[in-house]
Symmetry: C2
Subunit: 368 residues, 2 copies
């Protein structure tokens, strides 16, 4: 078997996986249409609905990673020449533009400086001008650590008759997500961040307005694999064979979702907030400064400007030493922020003061 080093995963994801989830992954298989597995599929769908804050029937773990969830939301709702307004505040907003334009959509970008929040007024103005089919943005930008304001943007989009697509990859299971209250029509997430399940599945949810759009399409969704109408047949009462679900991963996700509900989302959110506060205090004392203003910070993922001590050592070298000498992974900056910030994830299992203490001790050793 692969001989793997022990790691404390404090980067932008994946996070460490709970022992109970690892154990679930190693259960002997049953068939994907076995009554015992169908019961797990139903259970996972129910738990995902509660976590997403939605009554959407079409809520399920897509059989691919979070990036495929983004693609599923966009390619089902967009047809060639449809207009879309995308809030671009980091790498994943950029990716939305790329995926939408490959689907043939006319993309209007509303940008904001990386590390800042989208301006709801600018978004609303763009929506009025473009009259888009879809408005899409990222709840929790993994590249910047910003938590974007969902409600005012979603409201403006709906007032203009647009569908709202939300990226919840780094929020689901770490901070409150409430699709129905916010008026979000389609959303996606990943399993490997605040859910502390390995990467490989993408929880997605489509509401009735979104499905009405899918039914009204003039041509089929280009992707057969991501076509939500076909997925609805497989995950719905028909159990119509579509593909073979990743059985072991779904068993792992079921266990991860049970852990979330056992803890309770309110307590879990508080734990993420407390851990992020401890991180800011502990690394603040060592000269790290938050990139993001307090009101827009994303507790599961903190972005920090680097102190001179780290810059002098070479930030990539310091990260490498943390990994090699102390088994701790932290993330560097992506894109425009490469070399100037670190991204420190305290997600799911790792959102604890003890993670912060291990990191601080390791850092003191590396910089000594």
């Amino acid at each position: 078997m692969t001989d793997l080093p022990a790691r404390l995963l404090l980067g932008p994801g994946p996070s460490n996986v709970a022992p109970r989830v690892l154990q679930a992954l190693s259960q002997p298989l049953v068939g994907h249409l076995d009554p015992a597995f169908l019961a797990v599929m139903d259970e996972v769908q129910g738990r995902l609905r509660r976590l997403f804050g939605t009554a959407n029937a079409l809520t399920l773990p897509l059989s691919a990673t979070g990036s495929a969830g983004m693609e599923a939301c966009l390619v089902n709702l967009l047809e060639p020449d449809d207009a879309i307004v995308v809030g671009v505040a980091g790498v994943f907003g950029e990716r939305m533009c790329e995926v939408a334009s490959r689907a043939g959509a006319r993309v209007t970008r509303v940008e904001t400086e990386w590390g800042t929040a989208l301006d709801p007024t600018a978004m609303a103005d763009a929506v009025r001008r473009a009259a888009p089919r879809v408005v899409a943005f990222v709840h929790a930008e993994t590249s910047t650590g910003v938590c974007q304001p969902v409600e005012p943007i979603a409201r403006a989009a709906r007032e203009a008759g647009a569908l709202v697509v939300l990226d919840c990859v780094t929020s689901l299971g770490g901070i409150r997500v409430d699709l129905d209250a916010w008026g979000v029509d389609a959303a996606y997430s990943g399993t490997q961040k605040c859910l502390s399940c390995p990467p490989g599945l993408s929880p997605v949810s489509f509401g009735e307005r979104a499905l009405a759009r899918v039914r009204a399409r003039s041509r089929p969704v280009q992707s057969w694999y991501l076509d939500v109408s076909l997925l609805a047949g497989y995950y719905g009462a028909d159990r119509a064979y579509h593909h073979t679900a990743p059985i072991s991963m779904v068993l792992g996700l079921a266990e991860a979702l049970r852990l979330v509900e056992e803890e309770g989302m309110e307590a879990r959110e508080r734990r993420h907030r407390d851990a992020a506060a401890a991180l800011l205090e502990t690394l603040g004392a060592r000269g790290f400064e938050p990139l993001v203003p307090a009101e827009h910070r994303l507790p599961p993922l903190t972005t920090l400007r680097l102190p001179d001590a780290v810059v002098r050592h070479g930030e990539a070298d310091v990260r490498r030493a943390l990994l090699e000498r102390h088994g701790i992974e932290v993330g560097g900056g992506l894109g425009k922020l490469a070399g100037t910030i670190w991204r420190i994830g305290l997600m799911g299992e790792n959102a604890r003061r003890s993670s912060v203490e291990r990191l601080a001790a390791a850092l003191d050793d590396v910089l000594a």
Copy 2:
């Protein structure tokens, strides 16, 4: 944790997973760009190349199930209005037509009765008439249990300048696959059949001629997630971040591929052949008759016409009783063959005489 019944999975997939693979799935995570994980990615690519019989650099486990592998092969190679010739001999050939037509291709179908082999002459004639960009067919049809003749069809396709796409979902790891010798340009498989790894990944391989076609496209591949140029950047020397690989599943696949090489592909193929022969003999004595003529049978998946005793009891009821009373899953017929045949998989871990003996004893009990 989910309380799952013990199952002997003798349906069309998934098959039972080897204990060492289950153990690999439950290893604590490392990051997807951790040097320790990059080494596993390299190892998996090398082992997949040997198993596919190819030197193709772009050989990797796609982060989704086998159905996405089919889509990846077709949508990367086809542009709107391109012609494709598809050999349709069962459900998965039908699916190829559907996926290709969603990509905007003009599809020529060459059909054969379900349970029979494609006629290479009919395929060659269609290729001459249609002058297609791509010729696609299924090596091992999971819906019929037929092993299709690859070499003459691939030769005719290449002589006409077409690219050859091959579905190896139910062949890879169970019978010999030899892409380079056969002249196949792109192929895909799944992990849950003869590899005895859980479903969730799709090994794919693209050769140089196929990649030249991708580079010459007039527009980007619509699917960002399945774009092989981007996957090449992530799995290649650049390690350019694309998506987050399903780490645990890749660890499981690495272990499954080690088991294949420890056994040796020749011995493994023999084991599958011997198990299928034992099945035909044992169930033949009970009145089951092979659907497929001997020369086109697919050892990993045997399709059998049902004896009166099974029909009298109601074939679905018999299968249900096998599952509920004996924990044994066998597959019913798909599509046109529903209700008239069973599909019995002896794949990977389960390709053993002991599986046949357990099935026969259970069947005798259910029919008593």
